[in-house]
């Protein structure tokens, strides 16, 4: 891949057409539009479940909105609310959230070279990184390499602006719904969370390592929770994940990495 990343002075705001023929403003609007569709709908439904979970955990709607705006990665948000509601200590919550979201590091590492363009200041990438989460990330990996470099970051930001608004709306809507529909229906709303994650896993390409992690994690989750509700989830993840890792390596004696 050619390195066309000559840094330009910070604060430069690109107006019209860029040297590579890209139009960042139009790309931002295109991102806004293209995010409207199946992925946003799925995210909307899953954040409805999150909003309902927030209500059922006796937290306020502002807590849900704050979590969605600043956390912006559903697994960590659900883990935080679940563990907090169960009365787990802060250190256990922080460690579980950090471990779950560690996948954001390799995701960001993979995406940034694609979004990089000389016309944007470096700090803007640190701002944009806040919106790295699986739906927008996968869409950008697919769409951006075909776009002029000057359009990619704008497209990514536009795409995520739609997703962000949709999830904030859904968080509030789920919270409101859980308090207005019959208790029976709000049961269904809260149950959206585990079902959604279960299906995300079910649709994944089943590598041997993932299969081990999934099976061992599913067994360890309830078992370690009975052992210790505070640290059970964290322990289940570390023990089952490490066991899966070791098992998977055992099956590939010739693998060097």
């Amino acid at each position: 891949m050619p390195r066309d990343t000559t840094p330009m002075p910070a604060g430069l705001i690109p107006a019209g057409e860029q040297s590579d023929g890209g139009r960042p403003r139009a790309a931002f609007r295109r991102g806004l539009r293209e995010a409207v569709g199946a992925p946003a709908l799925v995210l909307f439904a899953s954040y409805l479940g999150f909003g309902a979970l927030v209500r059922e955990s006796d937290l306020g709607v502002l807590h849900g909105l704050f979590s969605t705006a600043t956390g912006w990665a559903l697994p960590g948000q659900v883990i935080l609310v679940e563990l907090y509601a169960a009365g787990a200590p802060l250190i256990a919550i922080a460690a579980a959230v950090a471990l779950t979201n560690a996948r954001l590091l390799p995701m960001t590492v993979a995406l940034m070279p694609i979004l990089r363009a000389g016309l944007w200041p470096r700090w803007l990438y640190y701002v944009a990184a806040h919106w790295v989460a699986v739906t927008g990330w996968a869409a950008a990996l697919k769409a951006c390499p075909r776009q002029p470099r000057s359009e990619r970051l704008a497209y990514f930001l536009g795409f995520n602006a739609t997703l962000w608004s949709a999830t904030l709306t859904a968080t509030a809507a789920g919270f409101w719904l859980a308090g207005s529909v019959p208790p029976l229906v709000s049961l269904g709303l809260v149950f959206l969370n585990p079902l959604y994650f279960m299906l995300v896993f079910a649709g994944d390409v089943p590598t041997r390592l993932r299969l081990y992690s999934l099976l061992l994690g599913a067994l360890a989750g309830p078992a370690f929770h009975l052992l210790d509700p505070d640290y059970g989830l964290l322990l289940a993840g570390v023990v089952a994940g490490t066991a899966a890792f070791l098992l998977g390596r055992g099956h590939r004696p010739g693998a060097s990495a």
Binding site: S57, G60, A96, H130, V190, F201, S213
Partner: protein, 117 residues
């Protein structure tokens, strides 16, 4: 519950916990920008981290289905397992449509609980 009571110390304690959660989450993203292009994400360390993240999340899903908190705890385990089974069935029958699977499974749980009265 909403109202002025939410804005007491409890409100800010929860915001504080969520801010810590946001901080440890952003740390990975910020580090990703700093290290982009200079990190081998196929190294054993990353493979291990991804195994742990997967296991942690399935552990949560299994716990939420088998040993849930709150109102879900009053539903029957069999109903929750059946609903999860229907969600999986719908998902694969519709060529991996997450929306249909998720909503269908939740609907089945509501129906089963309603049928039990």
């Amino acid at each position: 519950m909403s109202g002025p009571a939410d804005f007491g110390t409890g409100f800010w304690v929860v915001i504080g916990v969520m801010a810590v959660g946001a901080l440890v989450t952003y740390a990975w993203r910020g580090l990703g920008v700093a290290l982009s292009g200079r990190l081998n994400t196929a190294s054993p360390l990353f493979v291990w981290v991804s195994c742990v993240a997967y296991a942690l999340l399935t552990a949560l899903v299994a716990r939420m289905i088998v040993l849930p908190y709150g109102p879900l705890a009053e539903t029957a385990l069999l109903d929750r397992l059946l609903a999860a089974g229907v969600a999986l069935g719908l998902f694969f029958a519709t060529r991996c449509n997450i929306l249909v699977g998720t909503l269908g499974g939740a609907l089945v749980l509501v129906l089963l609980v309603w049928l039990r009265g």
